[in-house]
Symmetry: C2
Subunit: 271 residues, 2 copies
């Protein structure tokens, strides 16, 4: 196999297996090439990935060492992408009754969802977590995209406990927007007690849902190590109940009368 | 830029943009290389992608032509993957009360979900569709994975209509498993009338849910061009209400007494 062929195959391999350690002998055997050639191939790919701003190939030395692809999304590219999203969200036809903003079409596209996942992946890259946890429904695609970047499994909390998951733990919480008591549930076998988790959701107002997720995680003796919400909005009537979180968008005002939508970059881009 | 560098960058580009037509002049400009060099690079990548069994680079000739990456998952690799899944599912600790089988942990891993998406992507590669449609909750990750392979947007039907989507159309249907009347809803602006859609879900027994999705699609004047379910199971009490569908797994029997689980390849692998 020629170098150019190996580079195509190895680029594919790294992109399919983010954050997974692979030994050089594996590549040596797979591509029937000398270790020195493989090392040079990896240097070329590492250099190119850095130039493209998609991450880096990290070398782990020692007996059980090897290389792994660590995805990254540089701050400037993240800002450009979020600004692109903000322009789309400012469209007054997105205003829904009640001052909500229609976003489901955008969250239906892998183009947007995967980039959102990559940004959170960069934001949380130094957290040692065991699961990405979300609550049905709209947070699910975002959670899978974050999990892809971090090579973690996803756990979905349900609002409607169903029979096909075995015994569950459920909690009640007060929804910030409706002030109603709601419940969420998770099957016992979903999370190993004592795990570290990252919570992900699409939207946060007062933070009642995130707070509920935190309570449920406490029931599993799980430690919340990071919280990511795509968009946060202020609640006029209530103080925020969650303090340490990362947001990519801030929805300041959705005015049905003036048809004005004020959206800004979230706190990930502060400072 | 050297050939090996271009190959790394272009392999990344194709994998990020499946089924999107890109003109050769775009690559010529981006990598400051001669058109003949770019053509050779593409031949190398095409050849490697075919060897790896991950698809091909198709050339579209003419003035508005170019090249595009069409992902594929060869039948043999699909069979091996599904057999791997079957081995995992046979584990008797997966048996849940009521004869259900615990699969949520597997569906929480991108490793499994993305491969399931790629197989359906191959199965449906010749269908001209506008959307991949699923119903909350467990079908969602599968739908995004299928949509990724086919470069289509995802539309999520809700069982719990919520306020933040604008006006919705809802239908009632009879659930096969519980014999209860249930409802599903979709915001009007989600689907353009007259669209072609592919329906995706994780599980089908008598087919009541899929039938409900079909009815809802009819309300949008949408044409169902393909139906994909990860696992089908027979319903002892009722005949199947959906005929043309593609399944990857068949769950024949989950016996709580004998702890026996019979799972086989689905109808995609028939003939």
């Amino acid at each position: 196999m020629k170098r150019s062929q190996r580079i195509a195959a190895m680029t594919h391999y790294f992109k399919e297996n983010p954050r997974i350690l692979v030994s050089l002998p594996f590549f040596v055997k797979t591509y029937e090439a000398a270790k020195s050639s493989i090392s040079e191939d990896i240097d070329i790919i590492d250099d190119m990935f850095r130039q493209l701003g998609i991450g880096r190939i990290e070398t782990v030395s020692g007996y059980s060492g090897g290389v792994k692809y660590v995805p990254d999304y540089p701050l400037e590219a993240s800002q450009n992408f979020i600004d692109e999203l903000i322009e789309l969200l400012k469209d007054p036809t997105r205003i829904l009754p009640g001052g909500y903003l229609y976003m489901s079409d955008l969250l239906g596209h892998n183009y947007y969802v995967r980039r959102i996942g990559k940004i959170f992946g960069s934001a949380f890259q130094h957290i040692e977590a065991d699961y990405v946890v979300t609550v049905a429904t709209k947070g699910i695609p975002i959670a899978y995209a974050v999990a892809e970047a971090l090579n973690l499994p996803v756990v979905i909390i349900r609002r409607d406990p169903i029979v096909t998951e075995g015994s569950t733990i459920s909690i009640n919480y007060v929804s910030g927007s409706s002030r109603k008591i709601q419940s969420m549930a998770l099957a016992k076998r979903h999370i190993t007690p004592g795990s570290n988790v990252i919570l992900v959701d699409d939207f946060m107002k007062a933070g009642g849902t995130i707070k509920g997720m935190e309570s449920l995680m406490a029931e599993f003796d799980a430690h919340v190590k990071g919280i990511g919400v795509l968009a946060e909005a202020e609640d006029e009537d209530e103080e925020r109940r969650v303090m340490n979180y990362t947001s990519l968008l801030k929805i300041h005002d959705v005015n049905e009368k003036t048809q004005d939508v004020k959206v800004m970059r979230g706190n990930y881009f502060d400072s």
